[in-house]
């Protein structure tokens, strides 16, 4: 939920509660004032009635009291109460409906007899008054609520605008580009401070990123150059005609070792680059097609190793990734399937829209499967393997919303690429 919606909602609920309470309190106060007024007038009329009775000593129905306004009934016995106020409805024969009245009931003695006397006063006008006041109040409170809500929303919206601007800029910030983040100075101190901190942070991040990139490039240069020299000298050396077999053996050893070191170095550099997210040219790629075309590249090796390949295509596996990384990823997976296979074995590529699996026949694992993707974890002890292939695969997956899973089913080692569930991006406002 957005900040503005949240504050507006809280404000609205709170105001509504307050307004309701105020409304009820108001209603109750007006009502009690009116009742108080009516009751005191009834009391006055009671005094009038009693004074009248003292004078006349008898009650005839035809007095100045209007119909329904007074009711005198002889009773045999007095009720325990002496006087009582209550609301009642009296039938109005002119308008053929019942009207609300407030009634005062008391007992009195006229002559020798006990009478119950009820004096009533109409509440019609009072109810009208309450209705009008309530309606007016509701209208005004409603208007007030509405305008306050609108005002608060506009004000907060304006106050928070720099915050949303900053947020949008931070969202669009690209660490790998050399473009610095542009945050305009704001009038509000807090936002200004926030912007300053963010600017400092992003500048530092970009600076670190650049120096790391430069470091890997320089390291690459500084290591590859002497390796080139070794290779070049060895190549010159092997041209000399009078080499003994022992010498060629040593030279070959040196040569292999330097090539190995160079490949190792390239592998580690690649890992560093993937980790630094230096591959930013992402595209939507069909991995299934890529894997099948890779098989053609490997055709000759497959023939020599007498490996049979099977492709089960049940739908394309599509992922967004840098093309060069996709190429490395698939090469490494296939290389792995070829390397750890037996002569006459099989390689199967199975693709669905949800996953892409490369399986191969081969001996059971000697190491734990969880450690397969660690750097320098070699399954074979041969010097040919660097032990970086699967670590690179893992690193590429980790950085590209992919997942790699190893399973051993029915004598087949299976490496499956899966898409990790994407965390839904927060909606921009």
């Amino acid at each position: 939920m957005k900040l503005l919606t949240k504050t507006s909602r809280i404000y609205l609920l709170f105001s509504l509660a307050i307004y309701l309470i105020t409304g009820f309190a108001f209603y109750w106060i007006i009502r009690s004032v009116i009742y108080d007024e009516v009751e005191s007038r009834l009391q006055v009329e009671r005094q009038d009635f009693e004074a009248f009775m003292k004078d006349q000593e008898s009650w005839s129905g035809s007095c100045y009291f209007v119909e329904n306004k007074i009711d005198v009934l002889p009773v045999r016995q007095r009720a325990p109460i002496t006087e009582e106020f209550k609301d009642t409805l009296i039938y109005n024969r002119y308008e053929a409906n019942s009207d609300p009245f407030r009634q005062l009931t008391f007992y009195t003695t006229i002559g020798k007899l006990d009478y119950r006397v009820s004096i009533r006063k109409s509440l019609i006008e009072s109810y009208k008054l309450i209705e009008v006041i309530t309606l007016a109040m509701l209208t005004f409170l409603g208007l007030l609520l509405g305008s306050m809500f609108w005002f608060q929303r506009t004000l907060s919206g304006n106050l928070w605008r720099p915050f949303y601007d900053t947020l949008a800029k931070i969202k669009g910030f690209d660490l790998t580009s050399s473009k610095k983040i542009e945050l305009a100075p704001e009038k509000i101190t807090e936002f200004n401070e926030l912007n300053e901190v963010l600017k400092k942070m992003s500048d530092k991040m970009q600076h670190d990123y650049r120096s790391l990139k430069e470091f890997t490039e320089n390291a690459s240069h500084e290591i590859q150059t002497p390796l080139s020299l070794i290779n070049a000298r060895v190549e010159q050396l092997i041209q000399s005609p009078e080499l003994t077999s022992a010498q060629t053996y040593w030279i070959d050893e040196i040569y292999q070792a330097s090539r190995r070191m160079s490949r190792l170095h390239q592998g580690l550099l690649l890992l560093a680059k993937i980790e630094n997210k230096q591959f930013t040219d992402v595209e939507k790629l069909n991995f299934t097609e890529l894997a099948i075309s890779k098989l053609i590249d490997f055709e000759e090796i497959l023939t020599i190793r007498q490996l049979k390949t099977f492709v089960v295509n049940e739908g394309p596996f599509i992922a967004t990734i840098s093309p060069s990384l996709a190429d490395i990823l698939l090469s490494n997976l296939l290389n792995n399937a070829i390397r750890h296979n037996q002569p006459g074995g099989q390689i199967q590529i199975k693709s669905t829209s949800g996953q892409l699996c490369v399986s191969n026949t081969g001996d059971k694992l000697k190491t734990e499967p969880e450690r397969l993707f660690e750097r320098f974890k070699k399954e074979s002890t041969s010097a040919d393997s660097l032990g970086l292939g699967l670590a690179i695969v893992k690193q590429i997956c980790d950085n590209n919303q992919l997942q790699i899973q190893y399973t051993y089913v029915e004598g087949m080692h299976q490496m499956c690429l899966l898409k990790t569930e994407l965390v839904p991006e927060p909606k921009s406002h």
Binding site: P226, S245, Q256, D297, I301, I304, R305
Partner: protein
Amino acid sequence: MKILIIEDEKGLAESIVDYLNKEGFICEVASTYWQAHEKVNVYNYDCIIADLTLPDGEGFGIIETLKKISATTGVIIISARNALEDKIKGLTIGSDDYLTKPFHLSELNARLKSLIRRLNFGGSNEINFDAIQVQTAARKVFVAGKETTLSRKEYDLLMYFLSNIEVALTKVSIAEHLWGDNIDSADSLDIVYSHIKNLRRKLLEKSNKDYIQSIYGIGYKFVNP
């Protein structure tokens, strides 16, 4: 053929010069940016081989200057940088090839010759070696006058040998020439053997000569027996 080698690592430059001298190229070396800049402005070269990271500047600048003076000079970049953007930048500003360090001298030689062939497309596009004739434009091979069909890899292998005659080539360099860095060299050594076997058989059938000589433990050499 006059070639300028721009490389600050003395030993490496020396090795390249030695190697290319044997192939009949005339080589000059520049070890700094400004030295290279000066040479490029004063002399004419058929090709330059340029390193990108120099002590006092970036090789890109020299290539740009060179292309302004003489657009027809061939350029091969040799660099330790293997980032895609460097390769793309290099190729867009006018270099013809990009070789990542460490490379094989034989590979550099093969690429240089192939580049020169491309640059001189108007001239003879034929390579003749003893009974072997290759028409590079059509990718056709004739042995003792008879057309011989070679697979793509066998053709590439033959071209690699023809660029490095009488030179010992390692199995690793052959494998890397044929398959690039894509396939781990250790795995591809078997295939090198099978391709050599096929090529040797095809050449032997038509010419009755075995051009490919094995060097124990190291690799092969293409010779005129």
